[in-house]
């Protein structure tokens, strides 16, 4: 049961993209009640339908039930409730047509396309997509696939072209649903104060996709926490200065081969299992950036907790917020990061979904860094690297 509940609400501090929004539970409850309606309907007799038509009825009925539930319980006002209710009624009407052996007609296509496009609009406006919304849209797209399928196979050129166009339309609908969901998920996190960049969140309620932020009290750091955070930065600067020379880092076990980009993480597997926590002299990872003159520049370090689920020591209170990552796609050929789990529920073929990582924190040791902990702005990094490269 706990494994199911883990996806409900924003309990894990992650983005709603991979969770079930609390306000969408009503939709799931309505879906659970669908078999009762079904049973009442079938008491009048079972219509003779092909398997694909039964699936169509099921998909339309499921979408209608979820929209009906959302019409009753949602926190977006009466206007949206009315729209959900209209959608639910129209979807149920189309399902009824199929059960009676009639064609879904233009009404069916219009209702399904309208529902999917409305979802795109909602996501683009910054409404965070969740698992219930995404599953419903996939049901509607599959219903549309069934509605648009050709009545009979044909070798006529015109019909083949029409079939290809229908297939292309379905691909575009799926790609559009995925793309708008990404935009919605990132916009929802950016809409929260301080949440524009994942590592900069200090208690922001919506984390960016793939990021898990702990709940941080909305307060200023105490004087003792400020001193502790400052001491940590000074200690890290002193201890890590030697790693500006990558040959020293390599000799100490850091993977500095092939440094590229402005955010290269050189890990040290031995340090990940040495039992030391937040030891400035033995970070689990060093972070390098390549300056315009091609030379690697040590920017800072990343400290990693040894065990997943173990919270990092926030010695600086709200100044030192640790974070974890969720649903990261890891490539096996060759090993490396390959992205985040898609809103459509897939990692690329040949990759696996790493559900959760250990907690981690970055410390930036470069002078003048606007954020010594958390995320360092890319524009600032580039300006800094430019300045470093232009030094004689």
């Amino acid at each position: 049961m706990k494994t199911l509940v883990a996806h409900i609400g924003h309990v894990a501090g992650g983005n709603p993209l991979y969770q079930i929004g609390a306000e969408h539970i009503a939709g799931l409850i309505a879906l659970g009640a669908l078999p009762i309606v079904w049973w009442l309907f079938l008491r009048k007799g079972v219509p003779a339908l092909a398997p694909v038509e039964w699936l169509l009825v099921g998909l339309l009925g499921a979408s209608a039930a979820i929209h009906g539930g959302l019409a009753i319980v949602n926190d977006h006002g009466v206007g949206l409730s009315v729209l959900f209710a209209i959608d639910a009624v129209l979807l149920a009407l189309v399902a009824r047509r199929v059960l009676r052996g009639s064609s879904v007609g233009r009404l069916g296509i219009g209702v399904l396309v309208g529902s999917i496009v409305a979802y795109w609009g909602s996501a683009l406006s910054g409404e965070a997509p969740d698992q219930v919304g995404l599953a419903t849209k996939l049901c509607e797209i599959l219903a549309l696939v069934i509605v648009l399928r050709p009545a009979a196979p044909s070798k006529s050129g015109w019909r083949i072209a029409a079939s290809f166009a229908r297939g292309l339309a379905v691909v575009l609908l799926v790609v559009g649903t995925g793309a708008t969901s990404w935009i919605g998920a990132f916009r929802a996190s950016a809409a929260e104060p301080g949440a524009l960049s994942g590592h900069q969140i200090h208690g922001g309620p919506v984390a960016p996709p793939g990021m898990v932020m702990p709940t941080v009290p909305a307060r200023d750091a105490t004087p003792a926490e400020r001193v502790a955070a400052n001491d940590l930065i000074v200690a890290a600067r002193n201890a890590l200065a030697r790693y500006a020379d990558i040959s020293v880092a390599a000799a100490d076990g850091y993977n500095v081969n092939g440094i590229v980009g402005i955010d290269f993480h050189a890990s040290n597997p031995a340090n990940e299992h040495d039992g030391r926590i937040l030891d400035p002299a033995h970070p689990e990872t060093l972070v390098y950036a390549v300056a315009p003159n091609g030379k690697p520049v040590l920017m800072g370090a990343m400290f990693l907790m040894p065990k997943i689920g173990e919270p990092g020591p926030a010695i600086g209170g709200p100044l030192t917020v640790w974070h974890a990552h969720q649903h990261v796609c890891i490539s096996l050929t060759p090993p490396g990061l390959a992205g985040l789990l898609s809103p459509l529920g897939t990692c690329p073929i040949g990759t696996i979904d790493l559900a959760l990582t250990s907690e981690m924190i970055h410390i930036w040791i470069v002078p003048g860094a606007p954020e010594p902990f958390g995320d360092l702005d890319d524009a600032w990094k580039r300006a800094y690297l430019q300045a470093v490269a232009s030094r004689p």
């Binding site: 044909s154 390959a338 992205g339």
Partner: protein, 143 residues
């Protein structure tokens, strides 16, 4: 042109609809993999390549799907097997690391969809018992 429908054709219709959705999801995954590879320095292009190849295999398998074409079904089985194997690993990792199942949509697209497609193709490929018995009888009579 062939006008008579075989008993498995209804199931193949259903499988074709599901394969189109799955192919479209693989196309979206391929595009996402390409976008991510631009974000992660040093990321290889193999996930995008493999996802794109899987999408092509699914679309070709769907287009050539007939009750009497074993090779088309085998193409699809190969991709479904790959997706199910990855899904099994993902479920194991999710339970071990996060003590949670993968998200609902992931279960639908990585577990339910491949299992249903595989089951439909297997059932549509079977000869109906009556027809098998008759053809067996004809063969026995002929010998």
């Amino acid at each position: 042109m062939e006008t008579t429908r075989r008993p498995g054709d209804d199931l193949l219709d259903l499988a074709r609809a599901l394969l189109l959705l799955q192919g479209a999801i693989l196309v979206a995954t391929t595009i996402e993999a390409l976008v991510w590879s631009a974000f992660f320095p040093g990321a290889s292009g193999s996930p995008a390549l493999m996802s794109g190849a899987a999408a092509v295999v699914i679309f070709v398998g769907r287009a050539r799907l007939r009750a009497d074409r074993r090779w088309a079904r085998r193409l699809v089985y190969f991709v479904e097997g790959l997706i199910l194997l990855t899904a099994a690993i993902n479920v194991a990792i999710g339970l071990a690391l996060a003590h949670a199942l993968p998200p609902m949509v992931a279960l639908l697209t990585q577990v339910v969809l491949p299992i249903v497609i595989t089951a439909l193709l297997r059932r549509s490929g079977r000869r109906p018992p009556k027809a098998a018995a008759i053809s067996g009888g004809v063969l026995q009579g002929a010998s």
